[in-house]
């Protein structure tokens, strides 16, 4: 009986849903335009999808440990603007500035984490506040519009790639970085840290009583999110250059992606791979909309409907009664 129920649970496993969704979306894209699956255009797609995928990985760590990070969008924007202003076209400054950005990303994550864990402020509020602070501070610093410009070297990762590859044309660095970081994220979740993160998100008390440093793990999750936003910033900035609006609203897109991946807000459930797949689904949807020339104005509506539907489905799958031993008596 348990067996049957569990098989059912497996079949309707929310994590599985996202991969089905992924297949559906790309099947549709293929129907629209088989040409899309030609090497170059596929590469181009993955190139522009890379930042969101990386952000999704970062956000996953935070969500799975039972928190939110609403500040990533603002952080991505801030990083690009910082890069432009500090580099100001000087090739030689590229590397130092990259280091500065990394440190900044870590710092933001650390602040988010410490305020959330040490001061017991719900992460929603912490990161919402951080969002406002970053948004305002960065514009205060640049007088409202980004100044300076990026160096060519800085733009390589986001824009360039290994050229003249047969069939594929160009293999974007962004893709390689995405794959590398993605693999890294998957491996990280297999380490002690990853396991503790999951356990903490699932049952904080049990993890703590097993000796886990729950707060430290959660803070690290925020730091990882901050770093992922930094990488995403480098890629997006590299991909398209500076503009005042970079990163706007990205946080919601990312959280949506992660949730589409079957990762449950509240923590303890879902895999980082599925989260990244969620990001690909979102990007795939945008492509699909474009391929079928769905009126630009109508797209948010369809997107919203799909999200609600997908999550509702996953919720139903999850809500199925499972035999937990809670039914056993507790003799006095």
């Amino acid at each position: 009986m348990t067996r049957a129920r569990e098989l059912l649970a497996r079949a309707t496993n929310p994590t599985a849903t996202v991969f089905i969704l992924l297949v559906l979306v790309f099947a549709a894209v293929f129907a629209m335009n088989p040409g899309f699956f030609a090497g170059p255009s596929l590469m181009a797609f993955l190139k522009q999808a890379a930042p969101l995928v990386i952000l999704a990985a970062g956000q996953y760590f935070v969500i799975v440990s039972g928190n939110f990070d609403l500040s990533v969008g603002a952080l991505v924007g801030a990083q690009v603007v910082i890069a432009a202003r500090l580099i100001d076209g000087e090739e030689s400054r590229t590397v130092p500035v990259l280091i500065v950005m990394a440190l900044f990303g870590i710092a933001v994550g650390l602040v988010n984490g410490l305020i959330t864990t040490a001061l017991k402020v719900q992460s929603f509020i912490t990161t919402l506040g951080m969002l406002l602070v970053l948004y305002g501070a960065i514009r205060l610093w640049t007088g409202g519009a980004p100044t300076g410009s990026l160096s060519e070297a800085f733009r390589v990762p986001g824009r360039m790639g290994i050229e003249d590859v047969p069939v594929l044309g160009q293999i974007p660095w962004a893709l390689l970085i995405m794959v590398a970081l993605g693999a890294g994220a998957v491996l990280l979740m297999r380490t002690r840290f990853g396991r503790i993160l999951l356990a903490a998100g699932d049952n904080e008390r049990a993890a703590a009583l097993s000796g886990a440093r729950v707060d430290t793990a959660r803070t690290l999750a925020f730091v990882l999110s901050g770093l992922s936003a930094t990488v995403a910033g480098v890629l997006i900035g590299g991909f398209a250059g500076v503009s005042a609006q970079v990163g706007d609203g990205l946080e919601f897109t990312v959280i949506t992606a992660v949730v589409l991946g079957g990762v449950v807000l509240g923590g303890g459930r879902g895999s980082v791979l599925a989260a990244m797949a969620g990001a690909l689904v979102i990007e795939g949807l945008f492509t699909l909309f474009n391929q079928m020339a769905l009126p630009a104005t109508l797209r948010p509506a369809v997107q919203g409907a799909i999200i609600i539907a997908a999550v509702a489905y996953a919720a139903r799958a999850r809500a199925r009664p499972v035999p937990t031993a809670t039914a056993t008596p507790t003799p006095s």
């Binding site: 348990t2 067996r3 129920r5 569990e6 649970a9 002690r192 396991r195 503790i196 999951l198 356990a199 699932d202 049952n203 008390r205 049990a206 993890a207 703590a208 009583l209 097993s210 000796g211 886990a212 440093r213 303890g268 459930r269 499972v322 035999p323 937990t324 031993a325 809670t326 039914a327 056993t328 008596p329 507790t330 003799p331 006095s332």
Partner: protein
């Protein structure tokens, strides 16, 4: 009115195929205070929860005022006039006493909540109970346990209950508060409200109750008037070896070695003057009623709520254990009382849980130990569809095995087991018994906490009996249940 207020007949109940109650009868008259006694595991709580609509009986009938009823939800029981005061309170800390008392049944005037009526009727109920020092406007979150309990009782009464079940109501109360509860129950009797009083404490039972129903192994032993029976006879009726409870013998080659855990004058806000030592290869039992401080000692040893007085030595070295990490690094393991809330990450896999302690503590983490986890699980006869199955799908017994495995994986020198067999099936119980013996044989120091006296007696080499946060006596392994009960209930030696 004619006939009894309550008549339960031929109640059967089994969990996971394990019979917990069989053919139990219980009748109560209006205004009667009826004690339901028996050892832990005798089925008292189950019977009460069936009456309260928390569980549903597999067989048997329940009649209230002569009307047949069957409850599938606590609400139905409440509407039928059966209220329950469990040990975990059903109160909202952010609301006031009055609001809690009327939650879901707020008095209305012209469609609106009539707050005055709410306050007045609450005040009335409290006055009726003879409680002066509790304001209906007080926030429950700020109240003492006793006052929260009173709020629960007031809630029950305001539901117009004519039968109130109380599960170990004095467990968390100080003496003064127990007095208050006595008065309260007196009032209830006067009001004609029947009280089903589940307790271990013989003194209270004889002080309060008109009739006593004794359960053992889920069967009805006897129902007598309190006046017709002496405490000793009552205990005699309650205890006695059980068929199914065969405990494995001490394994050959188990020898008692050095002192691994020594507590000297340990105390904090819940326990006091604890002197205890556990040697390698020794199983020491901690017996005592609920709230007597058993779990508190475990939590202190493990650094959850450390001792604020006294000292702890591990393998002869004094050590200050301020948080679980320190305990773990000192080679201490704790199998907690509530495996769901404290032991397991239910949505993680068996393996993830089994290696949680290793993952969480760099000092105990090692490849070798990780490699042994699987073997450990199978040596515990874990029944699961593989190590990647989520533990929430496992039976209570197998879940407990995972918890034990997660601690043994760290190869501790001292293991504290708090209610290791709570709510698990017989097979798993026996497995755990022999595991405990094996641990001792391997030279671990075992501190065993169990409400089921029989377990302590059956397994422990020495038994420390707790009463009101102090060690009332230390008895040898062979002690009888009467002896243990005597100290546990605070009556002292016969």
């Amino acid at each position: 009115m004619t006939g009894p207020l309550l008549a339960m007949r031929g109640i059967d109940k089994a969990f996971l195929g394990v019979p917990v109650l069989s053919a139990v009868d219980l009748t109560m008259e209006p205004g009667e205070v009826h004690a339901l006694v028996g050892e832990n595991g005798a089925g008292k709580s189950t019977l009460m929860k069936i009456l309260a609509g928390v569980h549903t009986a597999d067989a048997g009938t329940i009649e209230l005022d002569g009307r047949a009823v069957s409850f599938t939800h606590p609400l139905q029981a409440q509407q039928a006039g059966v209220a329950s005061v469990f040990q975990e309170f059903n109160l909202l800390p952010e609301l006031t006493v009055a609001e809690n008392v009327h939650l879901g049944r707020e008095p209305k005037r012209r469609m609106l909540i009539d707050r005055r009526a709410m306050t007045e009727s609450t005040a009335a109920v409290l006055a009726d109970l003879g409680v002066e020092d509790l304001s209906p406007a007080a926030k429950v979150g700020t109240l003492s346990v006793a006052h929260q309990q009173i709020t629960e009782i007031a809630k029950a009464l305001s539901q117009g209950a004519d039968l109130i079940c109380m599960d170990e109501p004095t467990a968390a109360l100080a003496d003064a508060e127990v007095e208050l509860l006595y008065r309260l129950i007196g009032r209830l009797r006067e009001r004609g409200t029947a009280v089903l009083y589940v307790s271990h404490r013989l003194k209270e039972i004889f002080d309060l109750c008109d009739r006593i129903t004794v359960l053992k192994d889920g069967r009805l032993v006897d129902t007598t008037a309190a006046a017709d029976i002496t405490p000793d006879d009552l205990v005699a009726k309650m205890v006695g070896r059980r068929i199914e409870a065969q405990f494995p013998d001490r394994l050959p080659g188990t020898e008692t070695g050095e002192v691994r855990l020594r507590i000297t004058g340990g105390g904090n806000d819940r326990v006091d003057a604890i002197d205890l030592e556990v040697r390698a290869g020794e199983i020491v039992g901690l017996a005592g009623l609920q709230g007597s401080g058993r779990t508190e000692i475990a939590e202190a040893v493990f650094g959850i709520a450390p001792f604020t007085r006294g000292s702890i030595e591990v393998d002869g070295a004094p050590i200050r254990i301020t948080k679980p990490r320190k305990a773990i690094n000192a080679g201490i393991a704790l199998v907690t009382e509530d495996r769901k809330a404290q032991g397991l990450a239910l949505r993680q896999s068996v393996r993830a849980n089994a290696r949680m302690v290793l993952d969480a503590n760099a000092r105990v983490h090692s490849r070798a130990r990780l490699a042994r986890v699987s073997g450990l699980l199978s040596s515990l006869d874990l029944v699961a569809r593989g190590e990647d199955q989520e533990v929430r799908f496992l039976s209570g017994g197998n879940q407990q095995k995972v918890v034990v495995a997660k601690w043994l994986a760290a190869e501790p020198g001292i293991i504290v087991l708090d209610e290791p067999t709570r709510g698990i099936d017989v097979g798993a119980k026996h497995k755990l018994y022999s595991v405990i013996r094996e641990l001792a044989a391997e030279g671990l120091a075992v501190l065993l906490i169990a409400s089921e006296l029989i377990e302590v007696i059956g397994l422990a080499d020495r038994i420390a009996v707790l009463h009101d946060g102090r060690i009332a006596a230390e008895l040898p392994g062979g002690a009888t249940e009467q002896q243990v009960m005597a100290y546990a209930t605070g009556r002292g030696p016969e």
